[in-house]
Amino acid sequence: MAPEYLYDAKNQQMISSSINSRNGTISLLYGKDETLSSKRYSEGANYTLVTWKQKPMPGWYGTNMNSAIYSVETMSVQPGTNHQLNLRYQFKTGPSFDVKNTIPSAKERINFILTQPKAVQP
């Protein structure tokens, strides 16, 4: 077993997952529960986007699953001056991030976090 592949999102809940076949990665977007029902870009919102490298599932040819963590991106929306909101974004590399990989542009990633629809959970 490989417990090092687990990510503890603490008090945040899963918003949605995504697969990127081009990069061979798989991701989960987490957010704090208060922000899940309201607008993504609102005061006090907190998000974590965890990305893992994919690997074939041992035991079942026909499924790819997460292996080592590739990156952990965090984003928060805080009150700023003049009733403006302040957006903080950070990209942290994980054990499977290779030096040859490029860090994506923050603007693109923020957009990815803000626009990703919520997965339907009953």
Binding site: M1, A2, L28, G59, G62, T63
Partner: protein, 315 residues
């Protein structure tokens, strides 16, 4: 002295004679497996059919062709048992008894059973070494399953977000036929794996409760009683221009609950599945859980019968 030796000689010939006669009589009692009629044979390309016929048909079809040595008691009893069980799991001669989606899953399961050298059964290939599936044939089979329709299924339907509440709003959760109740508690559990199940065109997120997470962290197998998992399954939307695939419609939620006493007949795991936003319990009879454990038992016994735990890649 003479008397003793004649008695001895009589013994030495009579005993084997009795054994031979008994053995011959036993053969008459042989439980010979019969070949029922072929109602709907599987339709696959010829090169695939040839592999299945040679290596699998003896136990998974109504066209079993065993050798003379398979028909000798007591071997014939073992053979008859394997044929009976093999046919009950799936039967290439009654292939339409399963809906198309299940047929596809079975074909993928076959590829996995061969890859892990679980099939054909070892006790069978030991006597019939020519029935083994070669590496090249396995590649052919893999190429074939990748052409099945589920492999490229895209969920293009508009995403349904909620069910219209029935007039009588109940707070009771749906209950599967084996007594396992749906629980929304998983939303506060931790995610243990995220998967792209490309064989059937779905993507999944698997949650584990505290007991499950603790066992994974301590690398403790078998999982302790009280361990629970919830797997959420969605269709896959079309890949966008950045290469991303997002979840489509919600398909089902599947639970696995560990209780070694209560679920002792299914290796200690209780299974349940709830379909669609209505969370309709899956299965026509409580025996549905046999289908779950049969596959888990065959392919992941080393992981306490769980597929979705974080594991190192196989080198």
């Amino acid at each position: 002295m003479k008397n003793v030796s004649s008695f001895f000689y009589r013994r030495i010939f009579v005993l084997p004679a009795i054994i031979i006669v008994a053995f011959a009589l036993l053969q008459l009692s042989a439980s010979s497996f019969k070949n029922p009629v072929v109602t709907a044979e599987i339709q696959v390309p010829e090169e695939i059919k040839q592999i299945l016929e040679r290596s699998c048909y003896d136990c998974h079809s109504n066209q079993s062709q065993f050798e003379w040595f398979d028909k000798i008691v007591p071997a014939s009893y073992l053979v008859a048992h394997d044929v009976e069980v093999g046919r009950s799991r799936f039967n290439f001669s009654e292939w339409d008894s399963n809906p198309p989606a299940v047929q596809e899953v079975l074909l993928w399961e076959m590829v996995n059973a061969i890859e892990q050298e679980k099939m054909p059964l070892e006790r069978y290939t030991w006597l019939h070494p020519d029935r083994k599936v070669s590496k090249a044939e396995l590649i052919t089979l893999k190429r074939y399953v990748n052409t099945l329709s589920g492999r490229h299924k895209i969920d293009t339907a508009k995403i349904k977000r909620s069910v219209i509440q029935p007039v009588q709003v109940t707070t009771n959760h749906p209950i599967a036929l084996n007594g396992i109740s749906y629980t929304p508690a998983y939303k506060n559990w931790k995610v243990i794996s995220v998967t792209d199940k490309y064989d059937g065109g779905s993507m999944r997120v698997v949650y584990g409760n505290d007991i499950m997470i603790k066992a994974i962290k301590e690398k403790k197998l078998p999982f302790p009683d009280g361990a629970m998992m919830a797997k959420l399954v969605w269709g896959k939307q079309r890949v966008d221009k950045e290469g991303n695939t997002f979840p489509g419609n919600f398909q089902n939620v599947q639970l696995m609950i560990k209780d070694s006493k209560k679920y002792s007949s299914t290796e200690g795991w209780g299974f349940a599945r709830f379909d669609g936003l209505e969370l309709k319990p899956y299965g026509k009879t409580a025996a549905f859980e046999k289908n779950c454990i049969n596959c888990h038992r065959l392919l992941v016994p080393q992981n306490d019968f769980v597929f979705n735990i974080p594991t190192k890649p196989i080198k």
